[in-house]
């Protein structure tokens, strides 16, 4: 029997507080989600009872901490259905996971004149690392555009792919528009051209099914803090044949096998990519977040969030002068909009006076803003603990802000 989704809200202590004297309505989940008590307790418990540096120690605490850390690696492997937990690399977050691949893959496989394809829907963290890598390696940076419905153009992908293409980087879900990209199809098309694909799963891991083998992704990156785990921990999954061929990203302790006065050999996977003392406490927090999510039925959770999204989109579309951006066939958890004549920053700031937390601006996606010819948007984004009440409060708040501003101008 899975846990009732409606009971989730009570598990998040931060949601009990008031902002400006009003109950917190938190709709900034695409930026970061809150943490359930069980995750907070797991971190506190680690520091209270187990804290030790892992792997090389032989005292009791070091052994326990190592065991707990490696147990989470297995848990993550099962969570994303990785063939082996040695293909799960802990990083600081999605950004570091992508930078790791951009650096190491670039060094190993990208020569002057080669090409990389990145979608126009990317967050800067899956755009800039590739742009910089292309500059370093003298490679050509190609952008796969999105269409008027905010969907990627797969025919354009087929045309862009050629013998010089070395990798395609694409997000599973757009952090700005919520578009669910057809990553399975993108991967199939790219693989037909013998090109590997990196998927940025930062906005998907907490909402959609996550099976890296079914996807056949070569690399899949995500962050803990957007899936109810702490900040400062993320994951890079990679196919073994790729990870084994890539040179290390950072160097130092833990990642070495043998060091002589003038040479070094590297440790096996996954340690080759985990230089230095890792963020053990937050990895353990990530394990607790996975345990938390595993209590729910993932299909039910997705339908719950999809229904909430549709409800929110309906409320927004009924507001005069409001534009919702994008019209993808499948959208996940993100409501991007603007109201005619009202600057997004003003709307966000005034909603905050009513305890309503949304995000405003470019959302680290300037290429999307340029393509849509806008300066920014308001973005509301959903999580497991949101309700129709939250969306009603936002719609009511928007109405109030619109009246206040119309009175003044």
């Amino acid at each position: 029997m899975s846990k009732d989704i409606l009971s989730a809200r009570a598990d998040f202590p931060i949601l009990k507080q008031t902002i400006n004297g009003l109950p917190l309505v938190y709709l900034d989940n695409a930026a970061t989600t809150h943490k359930p008590q069980s995750v907070i307790d797991a971190i506190s418990c680690y520091y209270s009872t187990m804290n030790a540096n892992i792997h090389r120690g032989n005292h009791t605490l070091a052994v326990q901490a190592t065991q707990a850390y490696e147990d989470v690696r297995k848990k993550v492997g099962t969570f994303i259905n990785a063939p082996s937990s040695s293909q799960v690399i802990f990083t600081r977050g999605t950004t570091e996971s992508i930078n790791l691949v951009a650096y190491s893959f670039g060094r190993a496989f990208v020569k002057p004149g080669d090409e990389i394809i990145v979608s126009q829907l990317e967050h800067h963290s899956n755009y800039v690392p590739w742009l910089l890598m292309c500059q370093r390696q003298g490679a050509v940076f190609r952008v796969l555009p999105f269409d008027e419905n905010s969907e990627l153009d797969l025919q354009a992908l087929e045309k862009l792919l050629n013998k010089k293409t070395r990798l395609v980087a694409v997000n599973h879900v757009s952090n700005t528009l919520g578009t669910v990209n057809p990553v399975e199809e993108i991967i199939r098309v790219a693989h037909a051209a013998k090109v590997p694909v990196l998927v940025d799963g930062a906005q998907a891991i907490q909402h959609l099914a996550h099976d890296v083998q079914a996807l056949d992704a070569d690399f899949y990156a995500f962050s803990g803090h957007k899936m109810y785990a702490p900040m400062g921990v993320g994951v890079l999954y990679g196919k073994k044949e790729w990870l084994e061929q890539l040179p290390p990203f950072q160097s130092g302790g833990e990642m070495i096998d043998e060091v002589t006065p003038d040479s070094v050999t590297f440790n096996v996977l996954p340690y080759k990519f985990e230089a230095g003392t890792p963020n053990v406490a937050d990895v353990i927090g990530l394990g607790a977040a996975i345990d938390y999510l595993n209590q729910f039925n993932s299909t039910e959770l997705q339908s719950f969030e999809d229904e909430l999204l549709e409800y929110g989109l309906g409320l927004l579309r009924a507001i005069p002068g409001l534009t919702v951006y994008g019209n993808p066939r499948q959208r996940s958890a993100i409501l991007p909009f603007n109201i005619e004549g009202i600057q997004h920053y003003d709307l966000g700031t005034l909603l905050d006076t009513k305890g309503i937390a949304v995000r405003t601006g470019q959302h680290c996606t300037q290429p999307i803003m340029d393509a849509l010819h806008i300066a920014g948007t308001v973005r509301a984004s959903l999580a497991i603990y949101n309700s129709r009440d939250d969306l009603d409060a936002m719609a009511k708040g928007i109405d109030r802000v619109v009246r206040l501003i119309r009175r003044q101008t």
Partner: protein, 145 residues
């Protein structure tokens, strides 16, 4: 004679003290922005944009006999309100006084913590821009003397 920076700041502090909550404060700020003298549309060029703001903010600043004189605007009503506060206090003031001002007013109004911490508001960038112009104005004046 124009009131001093301190005097104008005190008047603003007194005005804001009458406002009971954040919504009222922002409403008042928006009103101040709407009442501010309009900036010539032709002056809203990219080279007059202040960098570091989520909204567009334009400042056209001149140095007139050692005084800082400017017109400014923003596409955000709230930011325009903050511009209006800066306008009320600093426009026409001696560059030296602008440089010496500790800008503590924004702390007192409670606006600093609320607004300046948000990168989007660009208040820090605007103040930096004003101070830099004041420093240049002072430099020019000293060269003339």
């Amino acid at each position: 004679m124009k009131a001093t920076i301190k005097e104008i700041e005190q008047n603003l502090i007194d005005d804001f003290a009458l406002l009971e909550n954040w919504e009222e404060k922002y409403e008042y700020l928006i009103e101040m922005g709407q009442d501010m003298p309009a900036m010539e549309p032709a002056l809203k060029t990219d080279d007059r944009l202040v960098q570091g703001c989520q909204s567009s903010v334009w400042f056209d600043i001149h140095c007139e006999e050692g005084n800082l004189v400017f017109s400014a605007d923003s596409d955000s009503l709230i930011v325009k309100g903050m511009v209006a506060v800066l306008n009320a206090i600093f426009n026409g003031q001696p560059a030296e006084a602008v440089l010496q001002s500790d800008m503590s007013l924004f702390d007192t109004l409670g606006l600093w913590r609320h607004v300046s911490s948000q990168r989007g508001s660009g208040l820090t960038a605007m103040i930096g821009h004003l101070k830099q112009s004041a420093a240049e104005c002072l430099g020019e004046q000293q060269e003339e003397q």
